[in-house]
Assembly symmetry: C2
Homo-oligomer: 212 residues x 2
DNA sequence: ATAATATTGTTAAATATAAAACAAACTCGA
DNA sequence: TCGAGTTTGTTTTATATTTAACAATATTAT
C-alpha cells in the first residue's frame, strides 16, 4: 500500500481528518463501500475534489465500485500517522491545559499526556487525571530524561514565545500551540497553531457581515 | 472612514486579527507608523499581500509615509466588529467550557459569558467565574428571556449537532463550535469552527513528513 | 521650492486550488 | 458471457489567491 505523499498541498491534508471522521461514522452505520459522489453529498464537497484529494496519495478506489471504507480509513490513518504513539507534555495547568488533557484522553488512544507544567506554585505538585503537575523549573531536567514527542503550549497570555524557545532548546521537535504567540521555528521543528482568539474575531466579522 | 467590504475573501479576513495583534504590539513599543515592507518583515508575509489585503476594505495608508498604526488598528477593529458587545452562553461545563470562559474573560472585554449549561447534574447549579451553571433543561427558557448573541459549543463528543439544532431553534444566530460535529446551518446563521481534533491530526501529519 | 527617496494603491502576471470533463476500467444483472 | 451502467484516475479548464511590477503621490532633506 503505497502512500508516499506527492507533496500534497496543506488544504488537502487539512481535509483528511474530516474524511477520516466521516468514513468512521459510515463504518459504524454498517456501510462498507462508498462512491466519491455519495461521500461528497454527505460532506458537502464535490466528488471531484474527493477523488483528487485522495489521488495525491494514491489510487485507493475501483472503477464501477467506489472506495472500500475500511481500507480507506486505514490509508488515511497511515497518511496522517494517526496510529503512531505520541508522548506529550502540556505547558500550562489552567483550564485550557486541563481541557486539552481531557481532549487527548478521550479522542486519541495513541497520544498520551505524561506531564503538565506550570509556573504557578498553587497549581504545581498536584495530580490531574493521574498526571503530575510539575513546576516549570523542572522542565529542562524532565525533557532530558524523558522522550517527549509533542509539547503542547496552553499558556494563556503571550509567554508563548519564551516557553517555545525553552522546549525547542531542550530538544522538542513539534509544538501544538494554543497560545496567542506567533512562534517562529526552524526547519527541523514543526508547529501547529490553534488560534482561538483569531477564530473569535473571524466569528465577529461573520456576524457583522450576516447582519448587513 | 469607509470600511465597506468589497466582499473580501476569507483568507484575507483570517489574516486581519494577526495584523491587529501585531499593530497593537507595535503601538505598545511606542511606534506610531509603519510601512507595509516593515510590517511584512515583522510578520513573515509579503508587503504586497498586506497592501492588497487592506485595500479590500479601503486605502488607509499614504504614499511615502506608510500606515498610521493607531488609525489602522481602529479600522481593523471596525472591520472585524471587535468592539461590539457580545453576550455569550457556553454549552458544556467541562474543562473546555471553563477554559473558553477564562479565555473570553481575559482577552475580550467586549464579550461576556452570561451563563453556562450542562446535562450533568453534578456540574449544574454551581457558579464558575461568577457565572451560573444551569441544567440543559433550562436552556430554552433562558434563551427566550435573554438576548444572546453567541452560543459556544464546548460539548466534547458529538452531541454537537443536537445542541446546535437546539440553540438555533431557540433563535441563536451565531455559533462558535468547539465540538467535533460538522454542523450544517442555514443562510441566516453563522458558524465558526475550532476543530481541535483535526488540528492534532494535521500536526501528526507534519511530524511524519518532518521525519522523512 | 526642488529633487531624491519612499511607499502607496492598483494593475498585471504567476501560482495554487477547485471543478468539470471524459476515457478507461470495473461491476453487476440478465 | 455480455452489455449497460457506474465510478474511478487523470487531464483540462476555471477560479481563487498570491506575488510582482509600476505609475502616482507623498515625504523629507537641502
Amino acid at each position: 500500500m503505497q502512500t508516499l505523499s506527492k507533496n500534497a498541498p496543506m488544504p488537502v491534508v487539512r481535509r483528511l481528518p474530516k474524511y477520516h471522521r466521516n468514513l468512521k461514522e459510515l463504518l459504524e452505520e454498517g456501510i462498507t463501500k462508498i462512491s466519491s459522489k455519495d461521500l461528497s453529498e454527505r460532506m458537502g464537497l464535490t466528488a471531484s475534489q474527493i477523488r483528487q484529494d485522495l489521488n495525491y496519495f494514491g489510487g485507493f478506489g475501483q472503477q464501477g465500485y467506489g472506495y472500500n471504507i475500511e481500507e480507506l480509513i486505514k490509508v488515511i490513518e497511515d497518511i496522517l500517522s494517526i496510529n503512531n504513539k505520541y508522548n506529550c507534555i502540556i505547558i500550562g495547568a489552567g483550564n485550557l491545559g486541563k481541557a486539552i488533557s481531557n481532549y487527548i484522553l478521550n479522542l486519541y488512544g495513541n497520544a498520551k499526556v505524561l506531564a503538565i507544567f506550570d509556573i504557578d506554585a498553587d497549581k504545581t505538585n498536584k495530580i490531574f487525571n493521574d498526571i503530575n503537575i510539575y513546576n516549570m523549573s523542572e522542565l529542562k531536567d524532565y525533557l532530558k530524561s524523558n522522550e517527549i514527542d509533542i509539547a503542547i503550549l496552553a499558556v494563556p497570555k503571550s509567554s508563548g514565545i519564551e516557553v517555545a524557545k525553552d522546549v525547542i532548546n531542550n530538544g522538542i521537535k513539534s509544538i501544538w500551540n494554543f497560545s496567542t504567540a506567533d512562534i517562529a521555528v526552524g526547519n527541523d521543528v514543526v508547529i501547529e497553531n490553534v488560534a482561538i482568539n483569531e477564530s473569535f474575531y473571524t466569528l465577529t466579522y461573520l456576524i457583522s457581515e450576516n447582519e448587513k
